[in-house]
């Protein structure tokens, strides 16, 4: 009798230590495509400590789990939207794991167009044809169709030869491009004397390109002073399409002055001797 009781206790103890197999939760509201922040998955499941993870197309996220009577609710509520596509929901309890394939979509959100231009900087000397690449994506990073059947659109645009900073159709910093003035068309030279201060001011300008755009501020201009065999060179920079050089009168009198920007030279200007 004692032996029977002993065996019974040993048997009970042994079977009591075996972990009960967890049954796979039954997905009650089966749906092929789920919308994040909207749809909730309802499972009929045993009362267990369930944990959920969701392998979305690019990143693992952890949905919320709400337990009710014999049911668990899985709520997919990422901070931001997700990359849409096939995903796997894993429900885990202890060592048991159950996987459910699903397809995820975000709620409808407006797409943003990316308008990339190449080259980003043009001068009016070069070709004014610019490559435009368009693609659009939603706020979560999912590409969306630009037109009815294409995710990417490429065009060649001929720009007007007008200098400035432009932001294309999207108005974003990434889409900005710049048109700079080309080579100066000619260098008009003039001078004015200040007899009182014994100074002379030499002015080069207006300095514009062949499309009447002001050439860039800071462009280097060289003034060559020549008399007999003597040659002197003075550097200046262009500001608001003019370059102005002031110097003592006796340094310029009787000399020929030629201004130079890159390979363009002005007509010689002779300062008469007083």
């Amino acid at each position: 009798m004692i032996r029977v009781i002993l065996f019974s206790f040993v048997g009970l103890f042994a079977f009591g230590c075996v972990e009960k197999a967890v049954e796979k939760p039954v997905w009650l509201n089966t749906k092929s495509t789920l919308k994040v922040n909207q749809d909730t998955l309802v499972f009929e499941a045993e009362a267990q400590d369930w944990k959920a993870s969701l392998s979305t197309a690019v990143q693992l996220i952890y949905p919320e789990i709400v337990k009710t009577d014999g049911k668990i609710l899985v709520i997919i509520r990422p901070v931001k939207g997700i990359i849409e596509g096939n995903a796997f929901l894993t429900l885990k309890s202890g060592t048991s794991q159950f996987v459910y394939p699903i397809s995820l979509k975000n709620q409808e959100e407006a797409s943003q167009l990316a308008d990339l231009r190449s080259p980003k900087t043009l001068t009016t000397d070069s070709s004014m044809v610019q490559q435009q690449i368009l693609y659009s994506s939603d706020p979560s990073g999912n590409l969306t169709l630009v037109n009815q059947d294409a995710y990417f659109v490429e065009k060649n645009i001929e720009l007007l030869p007008k200098t400035g900073t432009f932001k294309s159709i999207t108005g974003t910093a990434r889409s900005s491009f710049y048109v700079d003035a080309g080579t100066v068309r000619e260098i008009p030279l003039s001078y004015s004397k200040d007899s009182h201060n014994q100074e002379i001011t030499i002015q080069a300008g207006p300095l514009v390109d062949r499309f009447d755009n002001k050439i860039a501020n800071g462009t280097l201009i060289l003034f060559h002073f020549q008399k007999d065999q003597q040659h002197k060179k003075v550097e200046a920079v262009v500001q608001d399409s003019f370059a102005i050089l002031s110097l003592p009168l006796d340094e310029a009198e009787g000399k020929n002055i030629i201004a130079q920007i890159a390979q363009i030279y002005s007509q010689p200007l002779t300062i008469p001797q007083q």
Binding site: S53, V58, Q59, Y135, P139
Partner: protein, 186 residues
């Protein structure tokens, strides 16, 4: 007296050296050329490239694109299981990375593993300055390994937009157009 002045001077110098050593800023961001991307190095799917763009990349540009595209997928596969995007920061543009960072919560690694087996990409647009590339990965094959040890192979069509920023190509936007299972077992 001179000895005490000398010792005092030594003490001041010692104090200054210790203070300078303590306030020395240690930057833990490793320069790009010293970084070793183990994820990218351990991934080598087969990759086929077709050029359908008006402007075409050079051989060197193609080589770089191939290398970086594989690396991007190595990081995407890592994120599939480990949601922390920080180690993959250099593989995404700022706006794409920010979305991943905002969705990140600390937790147990996922139990499903994804590997990319092959890609067949067609370059749809290539910018003249070589800084933008849009492509269609028409035959991306993935292998999924589930907690019970079973595997599933899928074939996907994916549109990808890449931008060359810093020293490498970065993912700016992506679209899984479709994904079909080759050996459905779930």
């Amino acid at each position: 007296m001179t000895r005490w002045i000398f010792l005092g001077f030594l003490l001041i110098v010692g104090f200054l050296l210790i203070t300078m050593a303590r306030i020395r800023h240690t930057d833990d961001v490793i320069p790009y050329f010293l970084r070793y991307d183990s994820l990218a190095m351990n991934s080598n799917p087969s990759l086929e490239i077709k050029i359908q763009s008006v402007y075409t990349p050079t051989e060197q540009q193609l080589e770089k694109l191939e290398q970086d595209y594989k690396a991007i997928w190595a990081h995407l596969n890592h994120l599939y299981q480990h949601p922390n995007p920080t180690p993959s920061k250099d593989r995404f543009t700022e706006r794409f990375y920010l979305k991943l960072a905002e969705n990140y919560t600390n937790g147990q690694p996922g139990s499903i593993q994804r590997n990319d087996l092959s890609h067949s990409i067609s370059i749809k647009t290539w910018s003249r300055d070589g800084l933008s590339c849009n492509l269609l990965d028409s035959l991306a094959e993935f292998s999924y390994t589930f907690p019970d040890g079973s595997t599933q192979i899928t074939s996907s069509q994916i549109a990808v937009s890449l931008l060359f920023q810093g020293d490498n190509w970065r993912l700016d936007a992506i679209r899984f157009i479709d994904e079909t299972t080759k050996n459905p077992n779930l």
